[in-house]
Amino acid sequence: MVAPVVYFQWALFALLFLSQAALVAIFLARKSWRAYPAFFSYILLNLVQGGALFAIYRSRGFSSDLAQYFGWASQGAIILARALAIAELCRHLLARYSGIWALTKRLIFVCGVALALYSVFAAGRRWDTGVLKADRGLELTIIVVIVVLFLCARNYGIAASPIIHALALGFCLNSAFWVLNDAILEQKFAPYDALWNILNALTYLATLLLWIWTFRNPLPDAEVDPTLLPRDVYRVMAPEVNVRLRLLNESLSKLYKAEARRS
Protein backbone atom coordinates (compact mmCIF):
# COMPACT_ATOMS: atom_id res chain seq x y z
CA MET A 1 0.00 0.00 0.00
CA VAL A 2 1.56 3.27 -1.11
CA ALA A 3 1.18 6.15 1.34
CA PRO A 4 -0.74 9.23 0.11
CA VAL A 5 2.32 11.38 0.73
CA VAL A 6 4.17 9.39 -1.94
CA TYR A 7 1.42 10.14 -4.48
CA PHE A 8 1.67 13.78 -3.51
CA GLN A 9 5.41 13.69 -4.06
CA TRP A 10 4.99 12.13 -7.50
CA ALA A 11 2.41 14.72 -8.45
CA LEU A 12 4.63 17.51 -7.20
CA PHE A 13 7.65 16.29 -9.11
CA ALA A 14 5.56 15.93 -12.26
CA LEU A 15 4.33 19.49 -11.79
CA LEU A 16 7.89 20.71 -11.29
CA PHE A 17 9.02 18.91 -14.40
CA LEU A 18 6.19 20.40 -16.45
CA SER A 19 6.82 23.91 -15.11
CA GLN A 20 10.51 23.71 -15.96
CA ALA A 21 9.68 22.37 -19.41
CA ALA A 22 7.22 25.23 -19.88
CA LEU A 23 9.86 27.79 -18.89
CA VAL A 24 12.41 26.24 -21.25
CA ALA A 25 9.80 26.27 -24.03
CA ILE A 26 9.01 29.94 -23.35
CA PHE A 27 12.72 30.77 -23.49
CA LEU A 28 13.13 28.95 -26.78
CA ALA A 29 9.97 30.42 -28.33
CA ARG A 30 10.78 33.99 -27.26
CA LYS A 31 14.51 33.57 -27.92
CA SER A 32 15.07 34.90 -24.41
CA TRP A 33 18.02 32.54 -23.97
CA ARG A 34 20.09 34.99 -26.02
CA ALA A 35 19.75 37.62 -23.32
CA TYR A 36 19.93 35.21 -20.37
CA PRO A 37 22.05 32.22 -21.48
CA ALA A 38 23.29 31.31 -18.00
CA PHE A 39 19.80 31.42 -16.51
CA PHE A 40 18.50 29.32 -19.39
CA SER A 41 21.30 26.77 -18.79
CA TYR A 42 20.38 26.66 -15.10
CA ILE A 43 16.73 25.87 -15.84
CA LEU A 44 17.71 23.34 -18.52
CA LEU A 45 20.10 21.61 -16.12
CA ASN A 46 17.36 21.47 -13.49
CA LEU A 47 15.03 19.93 -16.06
CA VAL A 48 17.61 17.27 -16.96
CA GLN A 49 18.27 16.57 -13.27
CA GLY A 50 14.55 16.27 -12.63
CA GLY A 51 14.13 13.83 -15.52
CA ALA A 52 17.05 11.71 -14.39
CA LEU A 53 15.83 11.67 -10.78
CA PHE A 54 12.36 10.72 -11.96
CA ALA A 55 13.81 7.75 -13.84
CA ILE A 56 15.94 6.70 -10.84
CA TYR A 57 13.02 7.00 -8.41
CA ARG A 58 10.86 4.84 -10.65
CA SER A 59 13.48 2.16 -11.17
CA ARG A 60 15.31 2.10 -7.81
CA GLY A 61 12.93 3.75 -5.41
CA PHE A 62 12.80 7.12 -3.68
CA SER A 63 15.16 6.23 -0.83
CA SER A 64 17.70 4.19 -2.77
CA ASP A 65 21.42 4.89 -2.48
CA LEU A 66 21.64 5.78 -6.16
CA ALA A 67 18.87 8.37 -5.76
CA GLN A 68 20.63 9.84 -2.73
CA TYR A 69 24.08 10.01 -4.35
CA PHE A 70 22.83 11.25 -7.71
CA GLY A 71 20.62 13.84 -6.05
CA TRP A 72 23.42 15.36 -4.00
CA ALA A 73 26.13 15.03 -6.66
CA SER A 74 24.03 16.71 -9.36
CA GLN A 75 23.19 19.43 -6.86
CA GLY A 76 26.82 20.59 -7.17
CA ALA A 77 26.35 21.22 -10.89
CA ILE A 78 23.04 22.96 -10.21
CA ILE A 79 24.66 25.26 -7.64
CA LEU A 80 27.41 26.14 -10.10
CA ALA A 81 24.83 26.88 -12.81
CA ARG A 82 22.89 29.00 -10.34
CA ALA A 83 26.03 30.95 -9.44
CA LEU A 84 26.56 31.71 -13.13
CA ALA A 85 22.91 32.74 -13.52
CA ILE A 86 23.24 35.11 -10.57
CA ALA A 87 26.45 36.55 -12.01
CA GLU A 88 24.49 37.17 -15.19
CA LEU A 89 21.75 38.91 -13.19
CA CYS A 90 24.35 41.17 -11.54
CA ARG A 91 25.80 42.01 -14.95
CA HIS A 92 22.38 42.87 -16.37
CA LEU A 93 21.67 45.23 -13.50
CA LEU A 94 24.95 47.09 -13.16
CA ALA A 95 27.36 46.32 -16.01
CA ARG A 96 26.21 49.40 -17.97
CA TYR A 97 27.60 51.55 -15.17
CA SER A 98 31.20 50.43 -15.43
CA GLY A 99 32.56 52.31 -12.41
CA ILE A 100 29.83 51.15 -10.04
CA TRP A 101 29.99 47.66 -11.51
CA ALA A 102 33.73 47.43 -10.88
CA LEU A 103 33.21 48.46 -7.25
CA THR A 104 30.21 46.18 -6.70
CA LYS A 105 32.02 43.23 -8.29
CA ARG A 106 34.78 43.53 -5.71
CA LEU A 107 32.28 43.83 -2.87
CA ILE A 108 30.32 40.81 -4.05
CA PHE A 109 33.54 38.85 -4.57
CA VAL A 110 34.74 39.54 -1.03
CA CYS A 111 31.34 38.66 0.52
CA GLY A 112 30.96 35.60 -1.69
CA VAL A 113 34.43 34.22 -1.00
CA ALA A 114 34.12 34.84 2.76
CA LEU A 115 30.78 33.04 2.96
CA ALA A 116 31.87 30.23 0.64
CA LEU A 117 34.95 29.66 2.83
CA TYR A 118 32.70 29.63 5.88
CA SER A 119 30.53 27.01 4.16
CA VAL A 120 33.55 24.81 3.44
CA PHE A 121 34.83 25.06 7.02
CA ALA A 122 31.36 24.58 8.47
CA ALA A 123 30.89 21.50 6.33
CA GLY A 124 33.71 19.62 8.08
CA ARG A 125 34.59 16.13 6.94
CA ARG A 126 31.40 14.20 7.61
CA TRP A 127 29.57 13.29 4.42
CA ASP A 128 26.04 13.18 5.85
CA THR A 129 25.96 16.56 7.60
CA GLY A 130 28.79 18.13 5.62
CA VAL A 131 26.83 18.39 2.37
CA LEU A 132 23.90 19.86 4.24
CA LYS A 133 26.05 22.50 5.95
CA ALA A 134 27.90 23.36 2.75
CA ASP A 135 24.58 23.65 0.93
CA ARG A 136 23.20 25.92 3.62
CA GLY A 137 26.27 28.14 3.48
CA LEU A 138 26.16 28.41 -0.28
CA GLU A 139 22.46 29.27 -0.31
CA LEU A 140 23.19 31.94 2.29
CA THR A 141 25.96 33.24 0.03
CA ILE A 142 23.48 33.59 -2.83
CA ILE A 143 21.11 35.67 -0.69
CA VAL A 144 23.92 37.90 0.58
CA VAL A 145 25.27 38.47 -2.94
CA ILE A 146 21.84 39.51 -4.21
CA VAL A 147 21.24 41.75 -1.20
CA VAL A 148 24.63 43.47 -1.67
CA LEU A 149 23.87 43.91 -5.36
CA PHE A 150 20.52 45.57 -4.72
CA LEU A 151 21.89 47.71 -1.91
CA CYS A 152 24.56 49.02 -4.28
CA ALA A 153 21.93 49.64 -6.96
CA ARG A 154 19.75 51.44 -4.45
CA ASN A 155 22.63 53.54 -3.20
CA TYR A 156 23.26 54.87 -6.71
CA GLY A 157 19.58 55.14 -7.67
CA ILE A 158 19.87 52.49 -10.36
CA ALA A 159 16.47 50.97 -11.07
CA ALA A 160 16.06 47.24 -11.61
CA SER A 161 13.78 46.19 -14.44
CA PRO A 162 10.80 43.98 -13.47
CA ILE A 163 12.59 40.98 -15.03
CA ILE A 164 15.75 41.50 -12.97
CA HIS A 165 13.61 42.05 -9.89
CA ALA A 166 11.61 38.85 -10.46
CA LEU A 167 14.76 36.82 -11.11
CA ALA A 168 16.41 38.13 -7.95
CA LEU A 169 13.26 37.61 -5.89
CA GLY A 170 12.97 34.04 -7.13
CA PHE A 171 16.59 33.23 -6.33
CA CYS A 172 16.34 34.90 -2.92
CA LEU A 173 13.13 33.15 -1.85
CA ASN A 174 14.33 29.81 -3.12
CA SER A 175 17.65 30.13 -1.30
CA ALA A 176 15.99 31.41 1.87
CA PHE A 177 13.75 28.34 2.07
CA TRP A 178 16.70 26.07 1.35
CA VAL A 179 18.64 27.64 4.22
CA LEU A 180 15.71 27.22 6.61
CA ASN A 181 14.99 23.68 5.46
CA ASP A 182 18.66 22.68 5.74
CA ALA A 183 18.88 24.19 9.21
CA ILE A 184 15.76 22.35 10.37
CA LEU A 185 16.88 19.09 8.83
CA GLU A 186 20.31 19.49 10.42
CA GLN A 187 18.62 19.49 13.83
CA LYS A 188 17.42 15.99 12.95
CA PHE A 189 13.74 16.48 13.57
CA ALA A 190 12.47 13.01 12.64
CA PRO A 191 8.98 13.99 11.39
CA TYR A 192 10.46 16.78 9.31
CA ASP A 193 12.59 14.38 7.31
CA ALA A 194 9.71 13.42 5.02
CA LEU A 195 8.51 16.97 4.62
CA TRP A 196 11.93 18.33 3.66
CA ASN A 197 11.81 17.32 0.00
CA ILE A 198 8.20 18.41 -0.38
CA LEU A 199 8.85 21.87 1.05
CA ASN A 200 11.90 22.41 -1.13
CA ALA A 201 9.96 21.29 -4.18
CA LEU A 202 7.03 23.57 -3.33
CA THR A 203 9.36 26.53 -2.92
CA TYR A 204 11.02 25.85 -6.22
CA LEU A 205 7.62 25.43 -7.88
CA ALA A 206 6.51 28.84 -6.61
CA THR A 207 9.74 30.35 -7.94
CA LEU A 208 9.24 28.70 -11.31
CA LEU A 209 5.70 30.04 -11.57
CA LEU A 210 6.98 33.53 -10.79
CA TRP A 211 9.60 33.23 -13.54
CA ILE A 212 7.12 31.80 -16.05
CA TRP A 213 4.83 34.77 -15.37
CA THR A 214 7.75 37.17 -15.77
CA PHE A 215 9.04 35.73 -19.03
CA ARG A 216 5.63 35.10 -20.62
CA ASN A 217 6.00 38.21 -22.81
CA PRO A 218 8.84 38.93 -25.23
CA LEU A 219 11.76 40.73 -23.61
CA PRO A 220 11.83 44.49 -24.11
CA ASP A 221 14.49 45.89 -26.42
CA ALA A 222 17.91 46.20 -24.86
CA GLU A 223 18.32 49.49 -23.06
CA VAL A 224 20.76 51.96 -24.53
CA ASP A 225 23.94 52.27 -22.53
CA PRO A 226 24.24 55.63 -20.76
CA THR A 227 26.88 58.04 -22.01
CA LEU A 228 29.57 57.98 -19.39
CA LEU A 229 31.36 61.08 -18.19
CA PRO A 230 35.06 61.72 -18.80
CA ARG A 231 37.31 60.02 -16.25
CA ASP A 232 38.62 63.21 -14.66
CA VAL A 233 35.15 64.43 -13.66
CA TYR A 234 34.86 61.85 -10.91
CA ARG A 235 38.48 62.30 -9.84
CA VAL A 236 37.90 66.02 -9.32
CA MET A 237 34.31 66.00 -8.07
CA ALA A 238 34.22 63.06 -5.68
CA PRO A 239 36.91 64.36 -3.28
CA GLU A 240 35.40 67.86 -3.55
CA VAL A 241 31.95 66.63 -2.52
CA ASN A 242 33.40 64.58 0.31
CA VAL A 243 35.42 67.53 1.69
CA ARG A 244 32.27 69.65 1.70
CA LEU A 245 30.17 66.96 3.30
CA ARG A 246 32.87 66.54 5.95
CA LEU A 247 32.80 70.28 6.67
CA LEU A 248 29.04 70.18 6.92
CA ASN A 249 29.33 67.31 9.34
CA GLU A 250 31.91 69.10 11.43
CA SER A 251 29.62 72.12 11.67
CA LEU A 252 26.74 69.95 12.78
CA SER A 253 29.05 68.32 15.26
CA LYS A 254 30.12 71.70 16.69
CA LEU A 255 26.50 72.77 16.82
CA TYR A 256 25.58 69.64 18.69
CA LYS A 257 28.44 70.04 21.18
CA ALA A 258 27.61 73.71 21.71
CA GLU A 259 23.98 72.82 22.39
CA ALA A 260 25.00 70.05 24.74
CA ARG A 261 27.15 72.50 26.73
CA ARG A 262 24.39 75.13 26.84
CA SER A 263 21.68 72.72 27.91
Binding site: L151, G157, L180, E240, E259
Partner: protein, 192 residues
Protein backbone atom coordinates in the same frame (compact mmCIF):
# COMPACT_ATOMS: atom_id res chain seq x y z
CA UNK B 1 13.42 25.52 19.10
CA UNK B 2 17.17 25.83 19.54
CA UNK B 3 19.16 29.04 19.56
CA UNK B 4 20.82 27.96 16.34
CA UNK B 5 17.49 27.67 14.52
CA UNK B 6 16.27 30.96 15.90
CA UNK B 7 19.40 32.75 14.75
CA UNK B 8 19.10 31.21 11.27
CA UNK B 9 15.44 32.28 11.06
CA UNK B 10 16.35 35.78 12.20
CA UNK B 11 19.24 36.06 9.73
CA UNK B 12 17.16 34.88 6.78
CA UNK B 13 14.26 37.18 7.70
CA UNK B 14 16.66 40.11 8.04
CA UNK B 15 18.29 39.45 4.67
CA UNK B 16 14.93 39.06 2.94
CA UNK B 17 13.68 42.25 4.58
CA UNK B 18 16.74 44.19 3.39
CA UNK B 19 16.35 42.75 -0.09
CA UNK B 20 12.67 43.69 -0.30
CA UNK B 21 13.32 47.20 0.98
CA UNK B 22 16.23 47.85 -1.35
CA UNK B 23 14.55 46.33 -4.39
CA UNK B 24 11.29 48.14 -3.71
CA UNK B 25 13.16 51.41 -3.58
CA UNK B 26 14.98 50.82 -6.84
CA UNK B 27 11.75 49.58 -8.42
CA UNK B 28 9.98 52.81 -7.61
CA UNK B 29 12.70 55.02 -9.00
CA UNK B 30 11.37 56.44 -12.20
CA UNK B 31 14.50 58.21 -13.25
CA UNK B 32 17.75 56.60 -14.15
CA UNK B 33 20.99 58.37 -13.32
CA UNK B 34 21.95 60.69 -16.08
CA UNK B 35 18.48 62.12 -16.52
CA UNK B 36 19.07 65.85 -17.12
CA UNK B 37 15.93 66.69 -15.09
CA UNK B 38 17.56 65.14 -12.04
CA UNK B 39 20.49 67.56 -12.45
CA UNK B 40 18.18 70.54 -12.79
CA UNK B 41 16.33 69.64 -9.60
CA UNK B 42 19.55 69.59 -7.62
CA UNK B 43 19.70 73.37 -7.21
CA UNK B 44 19.86 74.50 -3.61
CA UNK B 45 16.97 76.59 -2.31
CA UNK B 46 17.72 77.21 1.35
CA UNK B 47 20.37 79.90 0.72
CA UNK B 48 17.74 82.34 -0.56
CA UNK B 49 16.07 82.28 2.88
CA UNK B 50 19.26 82.85 4.82
CA UNK B 51 18.69 86.58 5.64
CA UNK B 52 15.23 85.82 7.09
CA UNK B 53 16.62 82.96 9.15
CA UNK B 54 19.40 85.18 10.48
CA UNK B 55 16.81 87.77 11.44
CA UNK B 56 14.67 85.13 13.13
CA UNK B 57 17.64 84.00 15.18
CA UNK B 58 19.16 87.37 16.00
CA UNK B 59 20.11 87.93 19.63
CA UNK B 60 19.10 91.60 19.50
CA UNK B 61 15.47 90.66 18.86
CA UNK B 62 15.60 88.30 21.78
CA UNK B 63 17.13 90.91 24.07
CA UNK B 64 14.55 93.47 23.00
CA UNK B 65 11.70 91.07 23.78
CA UNK B 66 13.22 90.23 27.17
CA UNK B 67 13.35 93.93 28.09
CA UNK B 68 10.10 95.18 26.58
CA UNK B 69 7.78 92.25 25.84
CA UNK B 70 5.70 90.10 28.13
CA UNK B 71 6.75 86.57 29.04
CA UNK B 72 3.80 85.17 27.08
CA UNK B 73 4.89 86.99 23.95
CA UNK B 74 8.51 85.92 24.45
CA UNK B 75 7.48 82.28 24.80
CA UNK B 76 5.30 82.48 21.71
CA UNK B 77 8.07 84.07 19.66
CA UNK B 78 10.52 81.48 20.96
CA UNK B 79 8.15 78.66 19.96
CA UNK B 80 7.62 80.08 16.51
CA UNK B 81 11.33 80.57 16.01
CA UNK B 82 11.94 76.99 17.04
CA UNK B 83 9.53 75.96 14.29
CA UNK B 84 11.44 78.14 11.84
CA UNK B 85 14.77 76.56 12.84
CA UNK B 86 13.31 73.09 12.53
CA UNK B 87 12.07 73.93 9.07
CA UNK B 88 15.44 75.33 8.20
CA UNK B 89 17.17 72.20 9.46
CA UNK B 90 14.85 70.16 7.24
CA UNK B 91 15.86 72.29 4.26
CA UNK B 92 19.52 71.85 5.13
CA UNK B 93 19.03 68.14 5.10
CA UNK B 94 17.25 68.34 1.79
CA UNK B 95 20.19 70.27 0.39
CA UNK B 96 22.55 67.71 1.80
CA UNK B 97 20.57 64.98 0.09
CA UNK B 98 20.60 66.86 -3.18
CA UNK B 99 24.37 67.10 -3.03
CA UNK B 100 24.49 63.40 -2.37
CA UNK B 101 22.24 62.78 -5.34
CA UNK B 102 24.60 64.70 -7.60
CA UNK B 103 27.54 62.77 -6.20
CA UNK B 104 25.72 59.48 -6.86
CA UNK B 105 24.88 60.44 -10.42
CA UNK B 106 28.48 61.41 -11.06
CA UNK B 107 29.64 58.11 -9.57
CA UNK B 108 27.10 56.09 -11.56
CA UNK B 109 28.13 57.72 -14.82
CA UNK B 110 31.86 57.51 -14.22
CA UNK B 111 33.91 54.83 -15.89
CA UNK B 112 36.03 54.53 -12.74
CA UNK B 113 34.95 54.77 -9.11
CA UNK B 114 37.24 54.50 -6.10
CA UNK B 115 36.08 52.57 -3.08
CA UNK B 116 37.74 55.03 -0.68
CA UNK B 117 35.67 57.99 -1.87
CA UNK B 118 32.45 55.98 -1.87
CA UNK B 119 32.99 54.62 1.65
CA UNK B 120 33.93 58.07 2.86
CA UNK B 121 30.67 59.49 1.50
CA UNK B 122 28.67 56.69 3.05
CA UNK B 123 30.34 57.28 6.42
CA UNK B 124 29.73 61.04 6.22
CA UNK B 125 26.10 60.48 5.28
CA UNK B 126 25.47 58.20 8.23
CA UNK B 127 27.21 60.66 10.55
CA UNK B 128 25.17 63.58 9.21
CA UNK B 129 21.89 61.72 9.62
CA UNK B 130 22.79 60.74 13.18
CA UNK B 131 23.74 64.30 14.22
CA UNK B 132 20.82 65.84 12.42
CA UNK B 133 18.34 63.56 14.15
CA UNK B 134 19.82 64.30 17.58
CA UNK B 135 19.67 68.08 17.06
CA UNK B 136 16.16 67.84 15.64
CA UNK B 137 14.91 65.76 18.57
CA UNK B 138 16.52 68.15 21.06
CA UNK B 139 14.87 71.12 19.40
CA UNK B 140 11.50 69.40 19.21
CA UNK B 141 11.66 68.41 22.85
CA UNK B 142 12.62 71.98 23.78
CA UNK B 143 15.83 70.76 25.41
CA UNK B 144 18.11 73.06 23.44
CA UNK B 145 18.08 76.83 22.89
CA UNK B 146 17.92 78.13 19.33
CA UNK B 147 21.17 77.40 17.50
CA UNK B 148 23.20 79.68 15.29
CA UNK B 149 22.99 78.24 11.85
CA UNK B 150 24.62 80.86 9.66
CA UNK B 151 27.98 79.08 9.59
CA UNK B 152 26.29 75.91 8.57
CA UNK B 153 24.33 77.66 5.85
CA UNK B 154 27.46 79.30 4.44
CA UNK B 155 29.07 75.94 4.00
CA UNK B 156 26.12 74.56 2.08
CA UNK B 157 25.85 77.72 -0.01
CA UNK B 158 29.55 77.56 -0.87
CA UNK B 159 29.10 73.98 -1.89
CA UNK B 160 26.09 74.98 -3.94
CA UNK B 161 27.98 77.56 -6.02
CA UNK B 162 30.86 75.22 -6.76
CA UNK B 163 28.56 72.33 -7.54
CA UNK B 164 26.48 74.45 -9.89
CA UNK B 165 29.62 75.43 -11.80
CA UNK B 166 30.70 71.83 -11.88
CA UNK B 167 27.26 70.71 -13.11
CA UNK B 168 27.38 73.26 -15.93
CA UNK B 169 30.77 71.91 -16.92
CA UNK B 170 29.44 68.36 -16.66
CA UNK B 171 26.49 69.19 -18.90
CA UNK B 172 28.82 70.63 -21.54
CA UNK B 173 31.12 67.63 -21.34
CA UNK B 174 28.22 65.16 -21.46
CA UNK B 175 26.80 66.94 -24.51
CA UNK B 176 30.22 66.74 -26.17
CA UNK B 177 30.47 63.03 -25.31
CA UNK B 178 27.00 62.38 -26.79
CA UNK B 179 27.85 64.28 -29.97
CA UNK B 180 31.09 62.36 -30.26
CA UNK B 181 29.30 59.02 -29.77
CA UNK B 182 26.64 59.83 -32.38
CA UNK B 183 29.34 60.98 -34.81
CA UNK B 184 31.13 57.67 -34.32
CA UNK B 185 27.84 55.81 -34.89
CA UNK B 186 27.43 57.64 -38.20
CA UNK B 187 30.78 56.29 -39.30
CA UNK B 188 33.29 58.91 -38.39
CA UNK B 189 34.04 62.02 -36.39
CA UNK B 190 32.89 65.26 -37.94
CA UNK B 191 35.82 67.42 -38.89
CA UNK B 192 35.50 71.07 -38.10
Amino acid sequence: MSLFLLSIFFLVALLLGVFLLSSRHSWRLSRLPGDPVAFEECELHHATHLPQIRQALSETDNEFLTKRGSSVLRRRVHRERRGVVLGYLRELRRDFEKQLQIARIIAALSPEVTAVQEWERLRLTLKFIWQYEIIRMQLQAGLAPLPRLSGLANIVSGLSVRMENAIKELGERAAMATELASALDRGGVDHI
